[in-house]
């Protein structure tokens, strides 16, 4: 690779999962504006990446029987990592990850309350893989990756996995269930401080009857689906502390049981429209895309919140605003976000290499790094930022770097031949291939010191076959590599 455009690299780390040399070439040829267009308007790119699973030239997967992501959760995790690594729609996968954290739902409870097959299905099946064509939660997040947030909220409220996860499946008028009502206000929309306890009780009554139904046979042809159960709906008026309707009215009127589903749609409309929702999403997206380190740019956050409202809750419009903003593109914001474990793993594979590596080998390390896909610790999602970097998790990152470089040892030995006439030349070769934050002089000197340690440098194939994997291990395991 000759020229590397730092703006494009930054864009791909944030709006994607980093880039292989080939991918970087492709987006550099498009140029920044067209690259952003293509990332956001991803539906113009064919989604055929799943057909590449198990074919040469791509990262591998491992399964004991037939690879079956729609029914086996470990395979589902592998498919998602595969897609993060190879999808030509990286922003779609990136936003699916954002929504997975925002609407954090854990497979363990979903499968525990049903069974492992239905659990995997509800978490991630594609509609085409489901006996009744019902998409799983991850597919919902993909479909709404840059979609309308209000519509996404409606779909989430009806999502089978969510109905199990936050107990909506048992919400009925005799004893309303508060779990979903609380979290849709506290975590999914406005945030704590903008609703009251009575709002939670009223919200629980609003969603009475938004239940789950088992259909089909008792075998694998059976499935769970959303049903509005009018007989379970509580029909009296519900009063809130915040406006529900555009005229400022705070009361959802009494309705017949048959019409009662409208209660939930009215509340979701109100929550989507609430100014606090736009501001909260804007802050969260800012931290995700722009910076967790530097002071937030209040002007941009206000602008994003405004675009959210004016566009009728279009996430595509919101994302375009962010990606085109001066703050996003400011070099001072490069490498100012703590990478999530899956971002770290996928980027390392793209930059070190993956031929002969299986994403299954990343599943265990990811748990030690603190991020098991489909298993967020609670409904608030993962604790981000510095919290990723406990000592144990940092060791797990260093050790994933060891696992990957050990696996790639032969590929590395071949690729590095002739690249290390001097230690400086070898280091420069890898600092061009990988994208850590710039090393300060003392750390840079330590990397050279490692190369010189215990050897008289001659740059032979045999020497490089040992030192190059060791150096890659040190770089990928260094603090400088933990930022995107």
């Amino acid at each position: 690779m000759a020229f590397r455009d730092p703006q494009i690299e930054h864009l791909l780390r944030r709006a994607g999962f980093g880039a292989t040399p080939t991918e970087l070439d492709y987006y550099q040829n498009l140029g920044l504006g067209a690259a952003i267009d293509e990332l956001v308007d991803f539906t113009r790119i064919a989604d055929d990446v799943d057909s590449k699973i198990g074919t040469p030239g791509y990262v591998g997967t491992t399964s004991t029987g037939e690879f079956s992501p729609s029914t086996v959760i470990n395979d589902a995790r592998q498919r998602w990592l595969f897609r993060m690594t190879h999808s030509k729609r990286p922003l779609q996968e990136k936003m699916a990850l954002f929504w997975h954290n925002h609407f954090a739902t854990a497979y363990s409870k979903v499968s525990g309350n049903t069974n492992t097959l239905d659990g995997a299905r509800m978490m991630n099946a594609k509609a085409s893989e489901h006996p009744a064509g019902i998409r799983g939660q991850l597919q919902l997040f993909r479909d709404f990756a840059t979609g309308n947030f209000r519509d996404l909220l409606v779909e989430v409220a009806k999502d089978p996995a969510m109905l199990v996860w936050l107990d909506g499946s048992t919400n009925n008028k005799l004893k309303p269930q508060e779990n979903f009502a609380r979290e849709i206000m506290e975590l999914f929309t406005m945030g704590v401080g903008f609703y009251t306890e009575p709002d939670v009780y009223a919200g629980a009554r609003v969603f009475t009857g938004w239940n789950l139904q088992r259909s089909g046979g008792a075998d694998a042809s059976g499935y769970y689906r959303f049903v509005y159960n009018a007989g379970a709906h509580e029909t009296t008026a519900k009063e809130f502390s915040f406006p529900i309707y555009s005229d400022g009215s705070r009361t959802i009127p009494a309705r017949s049981a048959a019409d009662g589903m409208q209660d939930g749609l009215d509340l979701i409309d109100a929550l989507a429209r609430n100014p606090e929702t736009g501001r909260r999403l804007a802050r969260k997206l800012y931290a995700f895309f722009v910076s967790e380190v530097n002071e937030p740019d209040e002007q941009l956050i206000n602008q994003v919140a405004q675009v959210y409202q004016q566009s009728g809750f279009s996430m595509a419009a919101v994302l375009r605003t962010i990606l085109l903003s001066r703050a996003f593109n400011a070099p001072s914001n490069h490498f100012t976000r703590y990478s999530w474990p899956v971002e770290f793993v996928v980027r390392a594979m793209k930059e070190v290499g993956y031929a002969g590596f299986s994403v299954n080998s990343a599943i265990g390390p990811l748990i030690n790094m603190g991020q098991q896909l489909f298993e967020p610790p609670d409904v608030a999602g993962w604790d981000l930022g510095q919290t990723w970097f406990s000592t144990g998790a940092m060791l797990a990152r260093m050790n994933f770097a060891a696992t990957l470089t050990q696996n790639q040892k032969n590929n590395i030995a071949v690729a590095v031949r002739g690249k290390g006439p001097t230690p400086e030349a070898l280091l420069s070769f890898y600092l061009d291939q990988l994208t850590p934050l710039d090393y300060d002089r003392p750390a840079y000197d330590d990397l050279l010191g490692y190369l010189r340690e215990s050897v008289t440098w001659n740059g032979s194939d045999a020497q490089l076959a040992v030192k190059a994997p060791g150096l890659l291990h040190l770089i990928v395991g260094s603090s400088e590599y933990q930022f995107v």
Binding site: N113, L166, T170, N172, K175, Q177, E178, N179, E186, G191, V192, E197, V200, R283, A287, V293, Y338, N368, M369, G370, P377, D378, V379, A380, D383, L384, G385, Q386, T387, W388, F389, S390, T391, G392, A393, M394, L395, A396, M398, A402, Q406, L437, D440, A443, D446, L447, G449, Y450, E453, S454, V466, K467, P469, G470, L472, L474, S478, S479, Q482, F483
Partner: protein, 422 residues
């Protein structure tokens, strides 16, 4: 959840300059500090523990009538006598080991612990219990503030978090707390494993992480974490090979018990850790709570089996007198069961303290569960249990009488009127 916890910055550069001392020196330091130090094991039951199913006022007629599907009977609970208000109390039937410890006078149960205007939010509630500050839930946690009062230089293993992520309670300004979920996995691997080159990698990785880039605090933070990992590797490795005392088994499929086994190993090896954090989840029992035989019963088994093995293991090795265990949860649960045979978020809950120094017994009083009694033991229109003992007064006891700290300073107020548990 607010972003405060996630945005939390550990006191800038001064936070880790001391942790960057040489490992050999730190080992000596740990030995010096560890020889006489008492330790605290904090157990967090995450999700909001339904204390009425754990420490049960089984003779209150409204206990059975408001929980028609999940109440335990007099015949099912393990009766432990009366509290000071004369309420008969029973432990959950799966807590047989804890009953034995209670009978030995080494288990204190503090009923109705909490605070005014209890938060029903998991996240806010956890932040309040973590910071010991209902009004301001940002910044360091109460244990972190205690750690910050330990005179420098502080050993990097002064505290040990057995979960993957730093709990808010342990966030400190000056002291970094290592996360060590598994001592065996806490090791440094290499693509050149088994050769001398692997040691070279470790040497230089340690050096790279020892630099403090002053103009990049985020990078300095991650370096400090990496460096703490290197400074603790070898001592933790010694815990990985720990074998419990004769007759003690930590169930293999019980992650909580396995975490306690690591704690016992650290104590047995005398590595000098003063504060341990152990956590077990699943207490957010909105649906199908299964008090008699289902999910909640399994939670009680997990708790009982882990704590009992730990207690016996320490007792066998004469380590019990150095060790105190303190358990809490972010809130209790609604009195009335819901339509899903579960319970929703409530208010006051139970705290448990056990170990060598603890004066066992039942502290505080059970609530009067009659919703129409107007009893001050209830709140939220008779729906929830009102607190009697401010949780901060329990913290204050532990800080003053066990850890040797200054609770007024650490908790930011005088909470010295707590139950006489130690």
């Amino acid at each position: 959840m607010t972003l405060t916890r996630r945005d939390f910055v550990r006191g800038g550069v001064s936070a880790f300059t001391l942790s960057f001392a040489a490992p050999k020196f730190l080992c000596d330091l740990a030995l010096a500090q560890g020889a006489t130090s008492r330790n605290l094991v904090v157990v967090y039951l995450s999700g909001g523990n339904d204390s009425l199913s754990m420490v049960v006022p089984f003779t209150d007629p409204f206990y059975a009538s408001r929980r028609p599907s999940i109440a335990l009977t007099a015949g099912q609970v393990l009766q432990i006598g009366k509290d000071s208000a004369g309420n008969l109390i029973g432990l959950h039937p799966r807590l047989s080991g804890l009953k034995g410890i209670f009978d030995q006078g080494r288990l204190a149960l503090i009923q109705r612990t909490g605070y005014e205007n209890s938060s029903r939010s998991h996240f806010q509630g956890t932040d309040i219990w973590s910071t010991a500050s209902p009004a301001f839930t940002q910044g360091p946690g109460w244990l972190g503030r205690y750690l910050d009062t330990i005179p420098a230089p502080v050993d990097p293993l002064v505290a040990w978090n057995t979960t993957g992520q730093l709990p808010h309670s342990l966030q400190a300004n000056l002291v970094g707390v290592p996360a060590i979920p598994s001592p065996a996995a806490y090791a440094f691997n290499s693509p050149n494993a088994g050769t001398a080159e692997a040691l070279n990698e470790r040497t230089f990785a340690t050096r790279i992480s020892s630099h403090v880039p002053v103009n990049k605090p985020h990078l300095a933070f991650v370096n400090s974490t990496a460096h703490e990992a290197f400074a603790t590797l070898d001592r933790v490795a010694s815990v990985a090979t720990y074998v419990p005392s004769t007759g003690v088994t930590y169930p293999a499929n019980n992650g909580f018990a396995q975490a306690l086994k690591a704690v016992a190993g650290a104590l047995s090896r005398g590595i000098g850790t003063r504060v341990f954090w152990v956590q077990t989840g699943g207490y957010d029992t909105h649906a199908g709570q299964g008090v008699q035989a289902g999910g909640y019963a399994a939670l009680m088994s997990t708790l009982n089996d882990g704590l009992t093995a730990f207690y016996n293991d320490l007792n066998n090795q004469g380590l019990l007198s150095q060790t105190m265990i303190l358990q809490f949860s972010e809130f209790g649960r609604r009195i009335q069961e819901n339509a899903s045979n579960g319970t929703d978020h409530g208010a006051a809950s139970i705290m448990l303290a056990m170990g060598g120094p603890v004066r066992g017994g039942l502290y505080g009083t059970a609530p009067n569960l009659n919703p129409n009694s107007g009893s001050p033991t209830l709140e939220n229109g008779g729906n929830d249990v009102h607190y009697e003992t401010d949780f901060r007064s329990v913290y204050a006891r532990v800080i003053d009488n066990w850890l040797g700290g200054d609770s007024t300073k650490i908790l930011g107020g005088d909470f010295k009127n707590g139950p006489n548990i130690i």
